[in-house]
C-alpha cells in the first residue's frame, strides 16, 4: 500500500479484513445516505470553512502542544510533549467529530441527534452541538456509567438533551451503542446517529477519523518536525486515530496505543478484568478475537461461543469490547504497537502529571500518560514523545476521590447533600 493515509479514508470502508457494513437491511440506505453526504461535503470548500471556523472560534483550536519539562526531568528519558485536547470546549477531543457530524446532519436535513456515551464526554459534546445547531438530542448511557459519571448527565440535561440510562447487558458503552442503533432503526428518516468513535458500520470509522485528524495535523505544525513516538489511549480509538493519522505515512514515527489493562489481563469470575483486546491472557493467547459486532468487523473480547463479553476499566471511556477497524488493521500490519496500563498505574500517572505539570488528565487519557512515562524511561534524552491528553480530568472527580479515599471530600459531599 502506497499511502496508508489514503487507504484508511477509502470510500469502501474495508481495511484489510476489517470494517465493512454489517447492519440490518433497514440501516443500509441510511448508511449510504451518510456516506454520500460525507464524501460530497469533503469536496465542498464551504464545508471545510464552516468546520475550521467552528474548530477555531467555538472549540478553541488549535489546542496547545506543551513540553512537559518537569515530567521529562523527573523521568529522565525522552522528551515528553502533551497535546492538550482537554482544553477544547466541553473538555475533550470528542467535540471535533461532533461538530463535523452536526454539520453533516444539518446538510442531510435531520432534525434529531442521538448518541451513545461511555464517560459522558461524547454525550456532552453531542448535547452541546445539538443545542448549538437547534437539533433535538437523546443520549444513551449504560446505567453503570450513569452512576460513574453522574455530573456529565447533569450537564447534558442542562443542555436540553434527554439522557436514557441503558439497563440491558453490562450497562456500559456497548449496551449504549446497541440502544442507539435500535433507536436509529426505529427512526431512520429524521434522526442522525452521532456515533462517537472510529467504530461502527461504514462510513463512521472514516468520518470520525477525518474529523479527528486535525489533532495530528496541528501537532505536526506545532512541533515543526517529526516526533519519534506518538502515544494515545485506545477504547474505540477516536483520539488515537486523531493523533496518528497525519503521521501514518511518515515511516520514522512510531506509534503506541495504550489499552485499558483494568485489574490485569486475565479473567475474574469468568469475565474479563480489563478491556485490552491485544493484551496477552495468562495462557499467552491474545485476548481479543476477530468478530462482527455492532456493524463492523474487528477484534472483540468474546467468549468461546462468540458471545461478546463484559469488560472492566477504571475509565468508562475505554471500557469497551471492540476496537476501531482501522486500528485493527494498523495493528495487524505492525504500524501501531499496542500495550496496556492497569488501573493502579493509571492513577499513579494521573497523580504524577498533576503534581509535576499542573494538568489533570482524564482517566482515559491517563492511560496514555502511563504509557508515555513507561516508554520515556527506555529512551535516550534526544528522543521526542508526543502523548495525547484527549480529555481533562475534572469529570473524574468522584472516581478519583473514591479511589484515593479522600475523607475530607466525602465529608464535603455529605454536607452538600443537606443543601440540595
Amino acid at each position: 500500500m502506497n499511502s496508508l493515509k489514503k487507504y484508511l479514508l477509502n470510500t469502501d470502508g474495508h481495511f484489510g479484513q476489517f470494517g465493512g457494513r454489517y447492519v440490518p437491511e433497514l440501516l443500509i440506505p441510511i448508511m449510504e445516505e451518510l456516506q454520500e453526504a460525507f464524501f460530497q461535503a469533503k469536496k465542498d470548500p464551504s464545508f471545510k470553512n464552516d468546520l475550521l471556523n467552528l474548530y477555531h472560534n467555538y472549540s478553541g483550536r488549535p489546542t496547545p502542544l506543551y513540553f512537559c519539562e518537569n515530567l521529562t526531568k523527573k523521568i529522565g528519558g525522552a522528551k515528553i510533549y502533551l497535546k492538550n485536547e482537554g482544553l477544547n470546549h466541553t473538555g475533550a477531543h470528542k467535540i471535533n467529530h461532533c461538530l463535523g457530524q452536526a454539520i453533516l446532519a444539518k446538510r442531510m436535513g435531520k432534525k434529531r441527534l442521538i448518541a451513545e456515551t461511555g464517560a459522558g464526554q461524547h454525550g456532552l459534546a453531542t448535547a452541546t452541538v445539538a443545542a448549538k445547531f437547534g437539533l433535538k438530542c437523546r443520549v444513551y448511557m449504560g446505567a453503570r456509567d450513569v452512576e460513574r459519571q453522574r455530573p456529565n448527565v447533569f450537564w447534558m440535561e442542562q443542555l436540553g438533551a434527554e439522557v436514557i440510562p441503558v439497563k440491558e447487558g453490562g450497562q456500559i458503552l456497548r449496551d449504549a451503542i446497541n440502544a442507539a442503533l435500535r433507536d436509529l432503526i426505529s427512526n431512520p428518516e429524521d434522526t442522525h446517529y452521532l456515533l462517537g468513535t472510529v467504530c461502527g458500520p461504514h462510513p463512521y470509522p472514516v468520518i470520525n477519523t477525518y474529523f479527528q485528524k486535525i489533532v495530528g495535523e496541528e501537532v505536526k505544525k506545532q512541533l515543526g518536525g517529526l516526533p519519534d513516538y506518538l502515544v494515545a489511549c485506545v477504547g474505540g480509538g477516536s483520539n488515537a486515530m486523531g493523533l496518528f493519522y497525519d503521521f501514518l505515512d511518515d515511516k520514522k514515527v512510531q506509534m503506541l496505543a495504550v489499552e485499558a489493562g483494568g485489574k490485569g489481563i486475565k479473567k475474574e469470575n469468568g469475565k474479563f478484568a480489563h478491556a485490552a483486546r491485544f493484551g496477552a491472557m495468562p495462557d499467552g493467547k491474545q485476548a481479543g478475537e476477530v468478530g462482527v459486532v455492532e456493524g463492523f468487523k474487528s477484534y472483540f473480547l468474546q467468549n468461546d461461543e462468540g458471545q461478546i463479553e463484559e469488560t472492566q476499566s477504571i475509565s468508562a471511556g475505554l471500557d469497551y469490547s471492540g476496537v476501531g477497524p482501522q486500528l485493527a488493521y494498523l495493528h495487524d500490519i505492525g504500524r501501531v504497537k499496542f500495550t496496556y496500563a492497569v488501573d493502579d498505574d493509571v492513577i499513579a500517572a494521573y497523580k504524577l502529571l498533576a503534581r509535576t505539570e499542573g494538568i489533570f488528565a482524564a482517566l482515559e487519557s491517563s492511560h496514555a500518560v502511563a504509557g508515555a512515562i513507561k516508554l520515556a524511561k527506555t529512551l535516550p534524552k534526544n528522543k521526542i514523545i508526543v502523548m495525547n491528553c484527549s480529555g481533562r480530568g475534572d469529570k473524574d472527580l468522584f472516581i478519583v476521590t473514591k479511589k484515593l479515599g479522600d475523607k475530607n471530600f466525602a465529608n464535603f459531599l455529605k454536607e452538600q447533600t443537606k443543601n440540595v
Binding site: H14, Q17, G20, R21, Y22, V23, P24, E25, L26, I28, P29, I30, E168, G169, R174, N178, L181, R182, I185, S186, N187, P188, E189, E289, V290, G291, V292, V293, E294, G295, F300, Q302, E305, G306, Q307, I308, E309
Partner: protein, 250 residues
C-alpha cells in the same frame, strides 16, 4: 411462520414450543440462536436472548435442538430455520456452521446483519448454497429498487420483509404503506415473501395475506408465553386461532 429463542426459557421448553408450533399450523419455525448483542430485536426477544445465555445455552445445544425437531417432524410440512447474528456464524466458522446446520435438517438461515454487500469477503451465500441451505434475504421499507434487484438475484426459499421501521415486536399498528411496499417488492422478487416485525393479531395476518404468502409472528408468542406464566396450552390456543391464517401452501 413463527419464532422461538433456543434455550428460552430453557432448552426442553423451547423444543416443546417448536414442536407445538409445527403441530398447530406453522409452515416455518425460526429457531433463534441467542446472541449477546441482538441489534435488530426489540425488548421481548432481546430479554429472551439474555435469559437463554444466562441459562448457559451453547451453539451446540441449538444444533441439537434443530436436529431433534427436524427428526420428530420429518414427515410434516413445517420447515425449521436458524435465525441468529453473524458473529455466531463467523465465530463458529462459516463453512463449518453451514455444514452442521444442514446435517441437522435445517432449511435455511436468517442472519439480519450479514447483508449481501459483504458477500465478497465472507462467502456466506456461497457456503449456504454449497450445503443446500436457503440463505434468507431481508428487505425493508427503505430498500431502494436498485437493492431490491440485487437482493432478488440472491433470494432463495423466501424473502423476509421487515414490515416497518423499528426492531422486532414494537407496535400494534401495521405500516400504512405496507401494501405499496410489498407490491414493489413483488415486482422483483419471485420467491414467497414473509412479512414480520410487529405482527400480532388475526387482522394483521389477514391484511398481510392480501399481499404476501407468509406472516411472521415472533415476539407476540413469547409475550403470550410469558404472560401466561409459561402455559403451553395458552400458546396452543393462540396458534389454533391463527391456524387457518398463518398456514398457506404457496
Amino acid at each position: 411462520m413463527t419464532h422461538i429463542v433456543a434455550g428460552y426459557p430453557d432448552l426442553k421448553t423451547s423444543e416443546k414450543l417448536a414442536l407445538l408450533m409445527a403441530d398447530n399450523g406453522a409452515d416455518f419455525v425460526e429457531i433463534q440462536i441467542p446472541f449477546s448483542d441482538p441489534v435488530a430485536d426489540g425488548t421481548t426477544i432481546m430479554q429472551a436472548n439474555q435469559k437463554s445465555l444466562d441459562g448457559g445455552t451453547k451453539v451446540e445445544d441449538c444444533f441439537e435442538l434443530m436436529e431433534k425437531v427436524t427428526k420428530e417432524k420429518a414427515a410434516g410440512k413445517t420447515q425449521f430455520l436458524f435465525m441468529t447474528y453473524f458473529n455466531i456464524v463467523h465465530h463458529y466458522g462459516i463453512e463449518k456452521f453451514c455444514k452442521k446446520a444442514a446435517q441437522c435438517g435445517c432449511y435455511g438461515l436468517i442472519v439480519p446483519d450479514m447483508p449481501i454487500d459483504e458477500e465478497p469477503q465472507e462467502k456466506y451465500l456461497e457456503n449456504c448454497k454449497k450445503h443446500g441451505l436457503k440463505a434468507v434475504q431481508v428487505i425493508s421499507p427503505l430498500t431502494p429498487e436498485r437493492r431490491l434487484k440485487m437482493i432478488a438475484k440472491a433470494a432463495e426459499g423466501l424473502v423476509y420483509c421487515v414490515s416497518k421501521f423499528g426492531t422486532t415486536g414494537q407496535t400494534s399498528e401495521l405500516n400504512p404503506k405496507l401494501s405499496s411496499y410489498l407490491k414493489k417488492a413483488k415486482k422483483y422478487i419471485d420467491v414467497p415473501l414473509a412479512v414480520g416485525f410487529g405482527i400480532s393479531t388475526k387482522a394483521h395476518v389477514e391484511a398481510i395475506w392480501k399481499e404476501a404468502e407468509i406472516a411472521v409472528i415472533g415476539s407476540k408468542i413469547i409475550n403470550i408465553f410469558n404472560e401466561s406464566g409459561g402455559d403451553l396450552k395458552v400458546v396452543q390456543k393462540f396458534l389454533q386461532e391463527l391456524n387457518s391464517y398463518t398456514y398457506r401452501s404457496s
